[in-house]
């Protein structure tokens, strides 16, 4: 996995500026759509440091996303300065509990273990009274620095999500340049060699798993904040598979791939919904095309 250079980042910054200017020229619906894409991008980006960098395919991440989102519901009306760190912390803790067991396994077993743990979290919120029911619940948004009027919400949440995604991207961009990031890349290429050269592979993977889980929790927190609604659906493994799809669609070989993939998938969905009721058909076709033809993703085609 490679990072963008200064020119590429400048291009991303320009795209962010276009999104940031949306309140001046676009309708409420499009701003909500942009928020959806931004949250999807955060979720997929959180998984990229596991899948793209360390080569670990996890199906538990929807679970961490859900833990982050449900934290907002469980805390009740608090302040965003409480709910945000709490969401990251609880998702990080969930990842720290699941990670050591899941990471004992490799390859197919890892995939299956994360699938089962993810479903375990799903059942936790689906079947027990903790989650407020199988159909989901509305929640009170935590208070922010200013009171936000209803008409201003789409614009405010668009900007909030944009800032959060940008910070997450910059943080991961920095992380991938550190020794830790390089070591993760080494694991993807040849785990045994990394072990032989004295790296504590298990520990590196676990740290990546926890960081990735906490960031997925952050994405879940932003989703709960934006929608004021949580449901067990968001913990289902299909949601994890969608994040993997965004990664593949955008490019597994580049850090910013998931962002491109998230926007592409959101637009494809929006288009699909407008032309047919059978939108899973379109989504399935897009995945087939991506897997069969687009092996390096939209953002990675030049390499």
């Amino acid at each position: 996995m490679t990072r963008l250079g200064p020119r590429g980042n400048l291009f991303l910054a320009a795209a962010a500026l276009v999104l940031a200017s949306m309140p001046y020229w676009s309708g409420l619906y499009d701003m909500q759509l942009a928020s959806t894409a931004l949250i999807a991008a955060m979720f997929a980006l959180s998984l990229q440091i596991l899948t793209g960098a360390a080569g670990l395919v996890s199906l538990a991440h929807a679970g961490f996303f859900g833990v982050g989102a449900y934290t907002v519901y469980l805390l009740g009306a608090g302040s965003i300065f409480v709910t945000l760190p709490a969401a990251m912390l609880s998702a990080g803790i969930a990842a720290a509990v699941i990670g050591p067991i899941a990471l004992r396994t490799r390859g197919f077993y890892f995939l299956m273990t994360t699938l089962a743990f993810g479903q375990m979290l799903f059942f936790l919120f689906h079947d027990t009274p903790l989650g407020g029911g199988a159909d989901g619940v509305f929640l009170t948004r935590p208070s922010m620095m200013w009171t936000v009027t209803k008409s201003a919400r789409p614009a405010v949440f668009l900007l909030l999500n944009l800032v959060t995604l940008s910070l997450m991207y910059l943080g991961l961009w920095w992380l991938m340049g550190t020794m830790f990031g390089h070591a993760l890349l080494g694991i993807r290429i040849n785990e045994d060699r990394m072990r032989a050269t004295g790296h504590d592979v298990q520990r590196l993977k676990l740290i990546a798993f926890i960081v990735s889980g906490a960031l997925a929790g952050l994405a879940g927190h932003m989703a709960a904040l934006t929608d004021a609604f949580v449901s067990p659906e968001i913990l289902d493994w299909h949601h994890s598979a969608e994040a993997l799809l965004m990664i593949l669609l955008g490019g597994i070989g580049v850090l910013h791939g998931p962002i491109v993939g998230a926007f592409a998938l959101t637009l494809v969905r929006e288009f699909g919904q407008s032309v047919t009721e059978r939108q899973r058909l379109i989504e399935g076709m897009v995945i087939l095309a991506a897997v069969l033809l687009l092996r390096r993703g939209l953002a990675g085609w030049r390499r």
Partner: protein
């Protein structure tokens, strides 16, 4: 106490159905190295096939043979057209390919038969109850399903253990490269295993149709359970899948009856427990 006994039989019967599904799954992974998340959808297709066949002909007994024949053909086509190309691809690609198949199968099902829940009547021949120990009555159809599953399992053991083709399949599950070197037609083995796995999953779906209602998400819940069976039993191990299926079937059934809120969590927890003790399953040699 007698109710408990009935639940035990229910659990064994569910476990045996799980075995039909997961034995194919474990062999497909062992022999081809392919993760098939759409395996649960094949179960769903088998159940809907039973609903349609029983609805049109009025005779449920045509459904299981139809599921087997249809499954063999469908599986062979899927393997030749898609899965063959994905044998040596990364897990991520395999996950997404089979995820796409789930979406397409579900959409095809929605277009053809709709999204409603359907009941399939228990065949008239077996629509009575048999007294079991303690004066408790048990559905004859459930006993028949138990018997059919045991027969299939026995047939599979004989086929894998006593025939030349069976030996090749076991060899391929053990060491795929070696089979290529020995001059066995690996391509044929792959198609055979995939077709048989598909037929077994669809047969399980057809047999399960009168036991539970036929509904859109039924493939997904059975998928998770059968993957847990495969992981606990050890990848590629049919014997492991058998015992693991009975274990998961019992725990899930008893859990649903006595602790409905944590049944789903318990089965996943069981897998976590097994994996933290033996990371490659109970019955794997590695």
């Amino acid at each position: 106490m007698d109710g408990f006994l009935v639940q035990i039989i229910n659990g064994l019967q569910y476990g045996l159905l799980l075995f039909l599904i997961s034995s194919g799954l474990t062999l497909i992974f062992g022999v081809m190295g392919v993760i098939n998340l759409a395996h649960g959808s094949l179960f769903m297709i088998g159940a809907y096939l039973a609903y349609v066949v029983a609805g049109i002909t009025g005779d449920f007994w045509l459904a299981p043979p139809a599921a087997i024949v249809g499954g063999l053909g469908f599986g062979a086509v899927l393997e030749r057209v898609l899965f063959q190309r994905f044998r040596n691809r990364e897990h991520l690609d395999q996950v997404l390919l089979t995820f796409a198949l789930i979406l397409l199968f579900e959409e095809a099902r929605a277009s053809l038969v709709g999204n409603e829940f359907h009941a399939v009547a228990v065949p008239a021949l077996l629509d009575f109850s048999v007294p079991v120990v303690g004066g408790f009555a048990y559905s004859a159809y459930r006993i028949a399903v138990l018997g059919i599953c045991l027969l299939v399992a026995a047939g599979m053991v004989l086929f894998l253990g006593r025939t030349r083709v069976g030996a090749s399949i076991r060899a391929a599950a053990e060491n795929p490269e070696m089979v290529d070197l020995l001059g066995i037609d690996a391509r044929l083995i792959h198609t055979l295993v995939f077709a048989a796995g598909t037929a077994l999953a669809m047969l399980a779906g057809a047999l399960a149709a009168p036991l539970q209602s036929v509904y859109p998400g039924m493939g997904d819940s059975i998928l998770i359970a059968s993957f847990i069976v495969v992981v606990i039993g050890g990848l590629g191990s049919v014997g492991g899948a058998f015992w693991a299926a009975l274990l998961v079937g019992l725990i899930d059934t008893l859990g649903q009856v006595y602790f409905p809120q944590i049944a789903g969590i318990a089965v996943c927890g069981l897998m976590a427990l097994v994996l933290s003790w033996r990371p490659t399953g109970l019955f794997s040699r590695a």
